[in-house]
């Protein structure tokens, strides 16, 4: 386990200086929209919160953390917060494989395709699509989270944004539940799968759906993706813990202790593997942590997009 203070101060420093928890310029991280023909006008802003874009960088960074956890080298992490954020961020960007970046960009492109096929009225403006800061909230750095949330909310309200379509549970929770209390800004926040209106096709597929904690428990939304899949003829196998009682994937511990994230994730993976069907996740953190444990896991959006292509 790393010293939480070293991790928190590094992430908080990066977020304060660059608006990115890794210190990577957001223009380098958020490039998925460049290859997608997205509407510039519409009713709701597609707000990715950059979480899917972060997955390849999280995988690289936590790969190193896993290597040095509980070794004498871990001591050097205390100096990380003094390193210039952009320099360390660019270093991380350089060593992160391009194929992984492209993979997660495709996830977001799939979501845009699903929204378009569902005739949802949405638009995208990359300069408004910012990280919500939710990791700092989870880590207990309330002050940094609040300052960042005010900055994000100000940008959105100044641009006249009232409705948001989100793509991951952590950003959805932050914008829907935390921002109104902290910043006073109230947005109508809808996860993309609530917008799905794809004509039903006959498919004969069964999957195991992993409910993330924030959709299953905090937001009570786990029925919605299951219904969207059922409407396409895709059946979901029963999992030992699901819905409001779903089991954590272990991912939230990955910055402080990759070992602990692996232990908790391993227990969840055993539950998800038991039904014997392909595993489907709908949270970038869950997806990343289950992948690290060797699971063959697909994102909900790729299953839905396959149906579009069929």
């Amino acid at each position: 386990m790393y010293r939480p203070r070293d991790i928190i101060e590094t992430i908080a420093g990066n977020l304060r200086r660059t608006r990115n928890p890794f210190g990577i310029p957001n223009t380098l991280v958020n490039r998925w929209w460049k290859d997608a023909d997205l509407p510039k006008n519409g009713e709701a802003l597609l707000f990715t919160g950059l979480m899917y874009q972060f997955v390849p960088y999280i995988e690289t960074a936590t790969g190193y953390l896993a290597k040095f956890e509980d070794t004498p080298w871990a001591e050097y992490l205390r100096y990380a917060r003094w390193a210039p954020s952009t320099l360390s961020g660019l270093g991380l960007a350089l060593i992160t494989p391009g194929r992984d970046k492209r993979k997660f960009n495709r996830t977001l492109q799939n979501i845009a395709r699903i929204l378009t096929a569902s005739r949802a009225s949405f638009y995208y403006r990359p300069e408004l699509d910012q990280y919500s800061g939710v990791l700092l909230y989870d880590l207990g750095d309330q002050k940094t989270f609040e300052n960042h949330a005010h900055w994000v909310a100000r940008r959105l309200t100044s641009a006249g944004v009232k409705k948001l379509i989100t793509v991951d549970p952590h950003t959805t929770y932050a914008l829907k539940e935390l921002y109104p209390k902290i910043t006073g800004a109230h947005f109508e926040v809808t996860p993309y799968f609530e917008k799905i209106r794809i004509p039903a096709r006959k498919t004969d597929r069964t999957v195991t759906l992993h409910d993330p904690c924030f959709y299953g428990r905090y937001l009570g939304l786990s029925d919605v993706p299951a219904r969207a899949l059922a409407a396409l003829g895709i059946q979901c196998r029963k999992v030992e813990q699901s819905g409001a009682f779903t089991h954590c994937c272990g991912g939230p511990a990955e910055s402080i202790s990759p070992k602990l994230a692996g232990e908790v994730g391993g227990r969840r993976l055993a539950q998800l593997s038991a039904p014997g069907a392909p595993i489907v996740a709908m949270c970038p953190i869950c997806l990343g942590n289950l992948r690290k444990l060797g699971a063959d896991v697909e994102d909900l959006s790729s299953i839905l997009a396959e149906n579009l292509a069929a």
Binding site: R3, L139, G140, C213, R217, C248, A253, V264
Partner: protein
């Protein structure tokens, strides 16, 4: 020797959650917690109840094992909100580091 602070539970209000006194230490939270770790989070809530602030700060790193998954809050029979109590303790520890 641990100094006890009788006003600690009240002090916790500043960090968000003041429901620790509702807990009757049944241990449901520890039984359901995916960490399976040393009476977590029940032990820490007990420390709040008895005012053992120093004991919590001495072992503050333990708090960050919590995944904030919310299973403990979901199942708490007293609605004491253990998950949010742990998050409040994290806030207190962060503020304490920055002050020191």
């Amino acid at each position: 020797m641990t100094a006890l602070n009788p006003d600690f539970a009240e002090e916790m209000m500043k960090y968000g959650e003041d429901t620790a006194l509702a807990c009757f230490n049944c241990g449901t939270c520890s039984a359901i917690c995916p960490l399976l770790h040393d009476h977590f989070p029940r032990k820490l809530i007990r420390y709040i109840q008895i005012g053992a602030k120093d004991r919590i700060l001495e072992n503050a790193a333990e708090l960050w094992k919590c995944l904030h998954c919310g299973l403990c809050t979901q199942t708490c029979p007293r609605e004491a909100n253990p998950g949010e109590i742990i998050l409040s303790l994290k806030r207190m520890a962060v503020e304490n580091w920055r002050k020191s």
